[in-house]
């Protein structure tokens, strides 16, 4: 049993729903108690889909448990088939139905439906959403293609590929798909099938016809592309094309797989990002300390972009995707940070407190943490939120993706000259700790109420599920830090010069510390205290503060 406040991933059957909902003619019959239908709103409200997800829930109740829940399942499956006429059926159980062990696969076999039926075994008490999506996609593709012959390759034909991985409720999947399709077109590679996004069962059966597979999202597609490689000899791309460098590598991989000439495209990359980041106004981005957290693919890609393309300093890197922890461990080694592999929001929060980054690239959860600590934040990964489905075209991948990353990541930061002025004239009454980047407007600097837990039993009518009241403030919100205490609290006891308590600061030193802008003040305090502890200095004076500054360099 584990105490959970927020969760990064839903249960595995929600992953299965993401596959079913992405496809056009597949239905999912889910053995589940009433209440589990909440998952529909993920698709109709967060993603704003115009149709209900193709899912029939048995919605059994307590009184059914004594009688025949198996019969309820069979009725639901039969009626769902009659009503929706799917070309393939997924059947499975949610967490509660898993406990009553009705065997949806066997029950569906007994009805004898005239379409392929894929029984899903998704252990809810061990696994999570992305794994559920991956398993579902794999079993469905396998079921539909495993008896097909290995297609013969025609010499000299235009190279073809499948784009595998984009689902319903995916983080920018809709736009990534479009961007990568454009890129492939520029390379003269034909897209054979996109799946599961908007694919039909007939499309899935054509997957073996392509020369290779593009693995867009490893969390969803890796199991499937590996099987396809074994079964049909289709190689697959391994680079996730997020960022300039990764997109170039991705193009290189495709060139190697197909023999197309990448040089014309590589020579004149249609992206503004390389110049924008070299432009001298971007100097202020240098060595900004960033903390990165997300699913493994997005976090690893973001770390590379942050380090190589934005010139940030990666001070923390982590993921909630345990299945893909290896890629994060490797990346963390590269940037010389300790990898954080956890799905515990509280642990991530503690790590951020400890590291005091100047910016967070994370999920909606980290955006929330960032807001509380007064740190700038841009969202780079699922779990998704209604804000992650912008009306505009906003891919993360490919050329346009690099432009989008540049714009969204610098948006929450203070511009160079503004930062200097705040540093110079700390006593200007308008440069209070509430000061936010001026382009974010007045509202962004609004301090949080002193008591955030003020009870509001019935929220105002604008407070709707999935739609935060601060939605208008945009993805990145910079608010005043609620307290400076974090640095204090997290200073480990060992660093205190005096084992009896917190490090002692003279009044003058405290005043001097306040002259440092709040977004780096925590770091300065921590460095100074560590410096003092090491040298048994106490109390900390103005001189100690500057000695420490000289020692650490910033």
């Amino acid at each position: 049993m584990k105490l959970t406040v927020w969760t990064y991933e839903g249960p595995p059957h929600v992953g299965a729903m993401r596959i079913a909902t992405a496809l056009k003619d597949v239905h999912y019959v889910l053995h589940a108690p009433q209440g589990d239908t909440y998952a529909d709103l993920l698709f109709t409200m967060i993603e704003r889909r115009k149709t209900r997800p193709p899912v029939t829930y048995t919605t059994f109740q307590a009184r059914d448990l004594g009688s025949d829940t198996a019969e309820i399942f069979k009725t639901a499956a039969r009626e769902a088939y009659d009503r929706f006429q799917p070309q393939a059926l997924l059947v499975g159980a949610s967490c509660t139905a898993e406990l009553i062990q009705d065997d949806p696969g066997g029950l569906t076999d007994a009805i004898g439906l005239p379409v392929p039926v894929v029984p899903l075994e998704l252990p809810s008490y061990q696994r999570k959403e992305n794994w559920g999506a991956s398993e579902t996609f794999y079993h469905l593709v396998r079921k539909l293609t495993k008896d097909l012959p290995k297609p013969e390759k025609k010499a000299g034909a235009q190279p073809t590929c499948n784009l595998l991985g984009p689902t319903a409720l995916g983080f920018r999947h809709r736009d990534d798909l479009k961007e990568i399709s454009k890129l492939l077109d520029l390379l003269n590679v034909k897209v054979n099938v996109v799946a599961p996004f908007d694919a039909t069962v007939a499309d899935l059966r054509r997957i073996p016809e392509a020369d290779f597979n593009v693995m867009l999202y490893p969390e969803i597609a890796e199991t499937t592309v590996r099987w396809l490689e074994r079964q049909f000899g289709q190689p697959y791309t391994k680079t996730v094309p997020i960022g300039v460098g990764a997109t170039r590598d991705f193009i290189g991989e495709i060139a190697d797989l197909t023999g197309v000439d990448p040089e014309p495209l590589l020579a004149d990359l249609p992206s503004n990002m390389p110049w924008w980041t070299r432009s001298i106004d971007s100097t202020y981005l240098t060595n900004k300390r960033v903390f990165i957290f997300g699913d493994a693919s997005h976090a690893a890609a973001a770390a590379r972009v942050a380090h190589e393309e934005m010139g940030f300093e990666v001070v923390g890197l982590g993921t909630y995707s345990r299945e893909f922890a290896r890629s994060i461990r490797e990346a963390a080694e590269k940037y010389d940070v300790e990898p954080l592999i956890t799905d515990d929001y509280l642990e991530v929060e503690a790590k951020i407190q400890e590291l005091q980054p100047e910016m967070i690239l994370g999920t909606q959860m980290e955006r929330h943490i960032a807001k509380r600590f007064g740190i700038g934040c841009a969202v780079i990964s699922a779990p998704v939120h209604v804000q992650d489905f912008p009306a505009r075209y906003s891919p993360q991948m490919g050329f346009e993706g690099t432009n989008v990353l540049f714009d969204t990541w610098i948006h929450p930061l203070m511009m160079g000259l503004e930062e200097h002025l705040i540093g110079m004239f700390r006593e200007d009454f308008e440069f209070s700790d509430d000061a936010a980047p001026s382009h974010l407007g007045h509202s962004a600097a609004r301090p949080e109420p002193a008591n955030r837990d003020v009870p509001q039993p019935h929220q105002s009518q604008t407070d709707v599920p999935g739609v935060p009241r601060d939605a208008a403030a945009g993805v990145a919100v910079l608010e005043r830090p609620t307290t400076e205490a974090p640095a204090h609290e997290t200073a480990s006891p060992g660093t205190a010069p005096d084992t009896e308590g917190a490090p002692v600061w003279t009044v003058e030193a405290e005043k001097e510390l306040k002259k440092i802008p709040f977004f780096v003040r925590g770091k300065a305090r921590r460095n100074t205290e560590a410096y003092a502890a090491e040298r048994q200095i106490g109390p900390i004076t103005v001189e100690t503060l500057y000695d420490a500054k000289a020692h650490f360099g910033k």
Binding site: M1, K2, L3, T4, V5, G10, P11, H13, P33, Q34, G35, T37, Y38, A39, D40, L41, L42, T44, M45, I46, R49, K50, T51, R52, T56, T59, F60, Q61, A62, L65, A76, E79, R83, S94, C95, T96, L99, I100, S124, Y125, Q126, Q364, H368, H385, E448, R452, D453, P455, Q456, P457, H458, S460, Q461, D463, V464, P465, V467, P468, R469, D470
Partner: protein
Amino acid sequence: MAVTAPFSTPSATAPKGCTDLPVIRERGQREVFCGLTGIIWLHRRIQDAFFLIIGSRTCAHLMQSAAGVMIFAEPRFGTAVIDDRDLAGLADANEELDKVVNQLLDRRPEIKLLFLVGSCPSEVIKLDLHRAAERLNGQVRPGVRILNYSGSGIETTFTQGEDACLAAMVPALPQAEAEAPASLLVVGALADVVEDQFRRLFGQMGIDRVDFLPPRSAADLPAVGPNTRYLLAQPFLGDTARLLEDRGAVRLAAPFPLGVEGTTAWLKAAADAFGVSQDTFEAVTARGRERAHRSLERYRGQLAGKSLFFFPDSQLEIPLARFLAREMDMTLTEVGTPYLHRSHLAEEIGMLPESTQLSEGQDVDKQLDRCLAARPDITVCGLGLANPLEAEGLTTKWSIELVFTPIQGYDQAADLADLFARPLVRRTKLRV
């Protein structure tokens, strides 16, 4: 009690009984929330309470998806997620639970009331949370009371979670002495502003001993005894009412305080029970009634004659339908409710237009067929259905908003009407 009124509560005391109205009873897929969802408003209502769900990842995911509460600093609810090790043996699960409770109370020392909330999986594996609560009560932390209830989907539908929560609090209420003066208890979570208005109105009538359940703080649990008279502020509180009656409290039968008529009859039920004179009642309520009438007038033009279809959701459907039909002159196409509490809704059903089509329970696909065939002017439904119906050209109102908004009482009557008018106005306004 007889209501002889110059103001209009025509048939409030003469229910016709629901046998007069046709009821469709269906079983099939129910597109409803489970009772856990009630925590979304209850955890803000009781300021020193924490709701610990003992459930699965699905429960945790439901709470954050349905609530969209990531905006809050840190909610006063969380989930102890059961994993496969817990499923191996129950003794182990109890130890694990103790550990989580301790961890939680360490983190939130200000908590005075902890609810252990059962879920579908905890019910199916028969984790005895009542015994766990008894074992932990007062033991983990002095001064922290621990109660339990089930918000599981197999037992509760949406607002029934509040019923289960309040019912769990009833045995913990102090006993009022048999000779204690008569007091009024208002049962059901209301917005603070509504509670304050009602308290003022009761005070002006001379009813000073008024308590609200749930209270704003765990320390303020109201006493209950044979001289307690209680008014239900919400129509979904069957179990709570039964337990209050076991403690000797007496229910004041009334329609629910939605709209002018409902609010007046509801207040009147208390006034009569506490011997408030007709003149006083008139004097105290006159301004509110007049204001409400005046502000509702603006919406009648937008709503009158429009047809209305309710999917079952909060159990507020019948009182809402009554208000919209009688005060806003809307036409009722179908009024669905997850559960029809015949005695608590007797006054309400008696006030519905004759031949109103009621439905109880749900087969969502069949109900959607009926709704699409009827093409009502406005459809009240859950979040899973709203956008798909909008995409079919129907105008919808999400029912969950009706639970999260102050809608009771005179000064909220127009706000309530506005919730229905706004989607219609929007549709006529947009030219895209």
